[in-house]
Amino acid sequence: MSEGLAMPQDAAARYGGLGAGTWRWIGALALIALAAALPFAVSNYHVFELTLVMIYAIAVLGLNILTGYNGQISLGHGGFFAAGAYTAAILMHRYGLPYWATLAPAGLVCFALGVLFGLPALRFEGPYLALVTLAMAVATPQLLKYFDSWTGGQQGINLVKIQPPPGLGIDRDRWLYLVVLVVLLLAMRVAANMLNGRTGRAFVAIRDHPIAAAAMGIDVARYKTLAFGTSTALTGIAGALSAMVISFVAPESFSLFLSLSFLVGSAVGGIATISGAIVGGLFIEFVPNLANDISDAAPWAIYGLAMLLLMYAMPRGVAGSVGLLLQRFQSRRASRSDQDHKGRMP
């Protein structure tokens, strides 16, 4: 019975009595517990900030699916974020829906929009696709201002502040934080399942070599459209959450700069990763404020500089680079145990 190829899992078989997989679960649960406890240790304002971080993380996760895993660049995700936000706002404001019931419609509307967009986008590549998505970002504020009987036009929609369930005894900010946390975890789980499975492999194959993928029988059009739809659905859900948390939507909230921020956050976090989305969310939320502290004369210059430096240092993004390091670490362990096993080979 030959050992065959030494698998990294075998090499890293046991740490203190538990397998690597089990350790990963423990680590994840610990992080989740930490995240759930965090809002009770910090002030309301910081809870609010962290909630925004998670919302942006969900939006960036959507973009990662499309641009990172499927290779279709999008400069227009701010538009889908707006669509989700306004769907939720209109449902709450006009039709009196409770906030938690707006998430699914927002997701569905944005999924449909994404598919609608994805179909013509099939024809385009590279800078042409960038233009088509850019058009979405630019058209969104115009459309929002035009259909003002629905959207409130430039005045926007002021929403009634969401109240936490009465029995729990926590305040509004913390309740919303926990709601968004749950949605984030679900989104990450769903994304992971999709991306680590067949769909994800099809996405990556299409990104890396579309002709070979088609030759292997992958329905390129179907998967590309699916990527668009799931991506925009996630970003739309993030938009709906943002409407709930900020209690206000207006066309100015969804400028071209928002779309660019998502793209930048995605690249900085790690475009083809899931955990990178959280880094992206942190970047989008905190770096502009930090830039302001460093220089109030030209804060965006600092922000731009931060982008450049991060791209030089970590072209694969933070999560991408960390992932690369881990891979190297694991392969080194594998080769070391390979040598151990060599002695036993017949």
């Binding site: 005045q155 926007g156 900020i246 209690s247 206000f248 100015e252 700069f257 502009p288 302001n292």
Partner: protein, 407 residues
């Protein structure tokens, strides 16, 4: 001996009581952000992003408060002015204002810029009873003391100005056909709606064409051409300087000679009339409430010289052609006047009370005759403007100072 002791004891006790009550009186009542030596004010401004040209207002505010501090502060307290960048994005405004109120513990929010940003924080500030004073926007909704008792406006509302134009048109040009160029946002639409409102039931007959533009449009030439084609003989332009200048120029270049009303936001001599071509703006009518720093008629006055000296000392001499800097100066002076009137009672309630008790307050860089007045039912300090006509060099004021009816 005992009597002497008793008297001494009695006198000392009385002295102690008197001294401590005097001290308590001097200490006053303080809201958040106030101490014996400090008053903390919060502000958000677009220092970055598409509206960053308005950031000068925040810079002028900061410079003015620094100057007041150098002169000893307000009743012995220095102003700490914390101004944060919101890039004109409402979610960011909410974030910054929450930080100012909850982390920095400021007394009030002063002079935040933009209608959407202020709308985003409107509810939050009123719910938390934090004064939202003198936002830098001319929308009407900030004058609503019944529903929003913590919000007070300052700028004459955009609709007051278009009401003034409407009345002029109804009186002097009753058969006019009016075309309107407006910026496609709350500011431009307020002007358009104000004009409609001011014309009353004649509006639909008189307004024959409207064209809007986005701030991302490179020029408004196409819109002007379209408006001319409507056959209108009156044009109202509600545009910011860049597009106002383009409009003035294009109207002249295509040989169109309407009676042209130019909004006060876009009428500065140095940044609009001159780039457009001084001869192209002759005859244009506008309204104003503040002195244009590039208008020769004000440049010899002592008030202008004082303002200019202030700007130069503050390192802002590059902005001395910008009327926004004059307006920022006036905003800051109003804030200082309100805080002074509070004396040692610097609670949020008293601040609102003093702000609602302004009687004919004069400011040096406002047009002569224009004063600030507020009351418990009226949170609109500046309701007056004056009409002026451009003569190729300067704006000639004519008529009387007019009071608008506002909302």
């Amino acid at each position: 001996m005992k009597v002497k002791h008793a008297v001494t004891a009695g006198l000392s006790a009385a002295g102690l009581i008197l001294a401590s009550s005097l001290a308590a009186f001097a200490a006053g009542q303080y809201g958040p952000g106030v101490s014996d030596t400090e008053i903390k004010l919060g502000n958000t401004m677009p220092y970055s992003g598409p509206a960053s040209s308005y950031g000068i207002i925040g810079k002028v505010d900061a410079a003015y408060f620094a100057m007041i501090n150098e002169q000893g502060g307000i009743n012995g307290r220095k102003i700490t002015f914390i101004s944060r960048d919101d890039s004109y994005s409402p979610p960011k405004t909410v974030e910054q204002v929450r930080q100012l109120v909850e982390q920095d513990q400021v007394l009030l929010i002063f002079n935040s810029l933009g209608t959407p940003p202020n709308m985003a924080i409107h509810g939050y500030l009123n719910d938390n009873k934090v004064p939202q004073l003198f936002p830098a926007t001319g929308a009407d909704q900030w004058n609503d003391p019944k529903h929003f008792p913590w919000t007070m406006m300052w700028l004459p509302s955009y609709s007051i100005e278009s009401h003034i134009y409407a009345r002029f048109i109804l009186k002097n040009l009753p058969n006019a056909k009016i075309a309107v160029l407006y910026q496609n946002d709350d500011y431009g639409k307020d002007y358009l709606n104000g004009l409609r409102d001011g014309l009353g039931d004649k509006a639909s007959k008189m307004i024959v064409a409207t064209q809007s533009y986005e701030t991302t449009d490179p020029t408004v030439d196409s819109q002007i051409v379209a408006l001319q084609a409507s056959g209108a003989d009156v044009l109202m332009t509600a545009a910011i300087p860049k597009f106002a200048a383009q409009a003035v120029r294009k109207v002249y270049d295509i040989g169109w000679k309407p009676t042209h009303f130019l909004n006060s936001v876009g009428n500065a001599v140095g940044t609009v009339m001159k780039p457009a071509g001084l001869e192209k703006g002759v005859g244009i009518i506008s309204a104003a409430f503040a002195k244009d720093p590039t208008d020769p008629q004000w440049q010899s006055t002592p008030e202008y010289k004082e303002w200019l000296a202030f700007m130069t000392k503050a390192g802002l001499s590059a902005n001395t052609t910008d009327v926004q800097a004059v307006i920022g100066y006036s905003f800051a002076q109003t804030m200082v006047a309100v805080l002074k009137a509070c004396g040692d009672n610097l609670t949020r309630e008293n601040v609102m009370k003093q702000a609602a008790s302004l009687h004919d307050v004069k400011l040096p860089m406002l047009l002569p005759g224009i004063t600030l007045s507020t009351s418990a039912n009226n949170f609109d300090p500046i309701k007056q403007m004056q009409l002026q006509k451009f003569d190729g060099t300067t704006w000639r004021l004519f008529g009387d100072v007019i009071s608008g009816s506002g909302s």
